[in-house]
Amino acid sequence: MVKSEVHKCDVVIVGGGGAGLRAAIAIGQTNPALKVALVSKVYPMRSHTVSAEGGAAAVTKENDSFDDHCMDTIGGSDWLADQDVVEFFVKQAPAEMIQLEHWGCPWSREPSGKIAVRPFGGMKIERTWYAADKTGFHMLHALYQTSLKYDNLINYDEWFATKILIENGRCQGVTALELRSGQLRVIAAKAVILCTGGAGRVFPFTTNGAIKTGDGMAMAYRVGVPLKDMEFVQYHPTGLPGTGILITEAARGEGGILVNKDGYRYLQDYDLGKPLDVNDPLHPVKKTMELGPRDRLSQAFMKELEKGRVLSGPYGEYVHLDLRHLGEKKIDKKIPFVRELSTKYAGIDPVYDPIPVRPVAHYFMGGVDTNIRTATRLPGLFAAGEVASVTINGANRLGSNSLTELLVFGAQSGQAATEFAIEHPDLDFTALEKQGADEQERITKNFIRKNGGYERVATLRQEMTKTMESGAGIYRSEKSLKETCDKLAELRDRFSNVMIEDRSLAFNTELTSALELDFMLDVAQAIAHSALARTESRGSHQRTDYPKRNDERFLSHSLVFRTDGAPRIEYKDVTITRWPPAERVYGR
């Protein structure tokens, strides 16, 4: 029996994106004596935070207020956000953003040298900080580069975490596959923070990078931690057809408009207000038309599709995002990446032609259930960023809240994990080593040394994404969701016959794809079953058979638990502090 190597540290962070790096730095700032392991399946600067474009929200201007940010967020969430958490988030946001400015993030500026802000969808006041239209990229690199100065931080780059380890009723580390050698290692830690991001890749058509496969969600789910609000998946209204590449909401924040095949600004038909002329100095009006929230805009597209008023191309139906009236100068200054992406991947220069766009799976409001301090119900396990559901996003996240979220709660998780690690110094290394050996054996037996498999990873994955789109997409029904649940159960069965051709240990990406698919199947089931159980429509979760919001029954978070059969679903109340549920009003 091969013994697995045990790496010892105080806190292990799984995931090197924005939240993970912020957590790591938080520990370095407050407690540099602690040894921190940052385990990431890719080099940190490859993390998907890099693809975020538009900006990050925080109340920093005179005309703005904490209450307005809270209200926008809570209304945007269709009253499914926990209001105590939202208040905490909104209060912490400005300091976190300024901190990142001090770390060198190249924020766009006003002529005075102060931070510039731009309007964003669903926000009453412009409060979105931005670095042109590569905000996530700049934030991630600023965080990564800043993290390099902390010597207590050890980077385990290209280590693929496979399992959360529990001993004596608390989390004591993870196992991870070192991709270079193909060896399974144990990373023993007094506290574990999951920052692995979302799982957009369970859908066929997504803005998400290849790495977003819900690893952390599934790992937590497998050790009994519930996933919260998984039925809420945000579709971004403007992705490029075919590739799903994101065209940022900032394009609309700067004044871009959406038109159907007749050149008509169709959003006015969907209770999103009346359009102003694009040359009107007041355009774009906040919380109106193109600056409505993402769920409503994506749903409006689907209605247009039903009415046959969209355009059609080789990659399906689409509408036009028209930026021409902004002019070349403004486009190049404020949203140059939009121009680069459309020119390269759609063959369209937005200075001269409208961009073809359609809704595309973008963000998971749901995730690992945590409290306001990012702690899960498993002692010693914390989660922050898209992997977690803390919950500020509820049924629909507002654009530019997620980048701020990963800072606020990334930092929070670092502090909370530090406290926990100091209070719980003892680890059972012998038991952990044994668990590592078991995990090594599981992976060897089920994957790399397995014989007789015949199902291709890619085939199973494609069938999974297809059924997720058809059954659990923007609009769902009992029938479509049941079909998806059945199909996922079938795929779960077939997965046991998965075939790995690659017998090499070094950087075996067929093995990692299989492990990722294994995780994604769990996440997909959690989504479909949660969606089936919620017989109402709220935010991004739209049931054609239950088109109304039902506060009496469903003003509550769903919690999905893994079982050997179909997942078990429970509910817990939403925390309401000062904003009782009301109608979501845009454009009126």
Partner: protein
């Protein structure tokens, strides 16, 4: 797990067109240097007196000299052109938020080159 280091062939500099052009660019310096030596020789002969100087002029009139000059000139011009084209990378001028476009900076260099050449020709040969 052992990684594989690909051998770097001695012909690396011939493996891609940009590298070849780079080597040519660097070798222009040989012609520049040789010409400086020629200038030194010219001054030396000039200092020696009329006879020596006349010998120098005769040598310069030989077909071989003309051919060598032509070759050297081609390289010297290549040096000038590449040099001025690369100047904007080093001389970065920014007015407010906008950078002065590279072609303007390179263009200014080319203009100076042309101007100085005309002046020099006018002074020396009095055209």
């Amino acid at each position: 797990m052992k990684s594989y280091r690909r051998p770097v062939p001695n012909t690396l500099w011939l493996s891609r067109r940009p590298y070849i052009l780079f080597i040519i660019r660097e070798l222009t310096a040989v012609f520049v240097g040789a010409y400086c030596v020629l200038l030194l020789f010219f001054i030396y002969k000039l200092g020696k007196g009329l006879e020596a100087y006349q010998g120098m002029l005769d040598a310069l009139k030989s077909p071989l000299s003309i051919i060598l000059h032509l070759i050297a000139l081609a390289f010297a011009i290549y040096h000038s052109v590449t040099w001025f084209n690369l100047t904007p990378k080093i001389m970065v001028l920014q007015i407010g938020e906008e950078r002065v476009p590279a072609f303007l900076i390179a263009g200014a260099n080319f203009a100076a080159w042309l101007g100085l050449s005309v002046i020099l020709a006018w002074v020396i040969i009095g055209v």
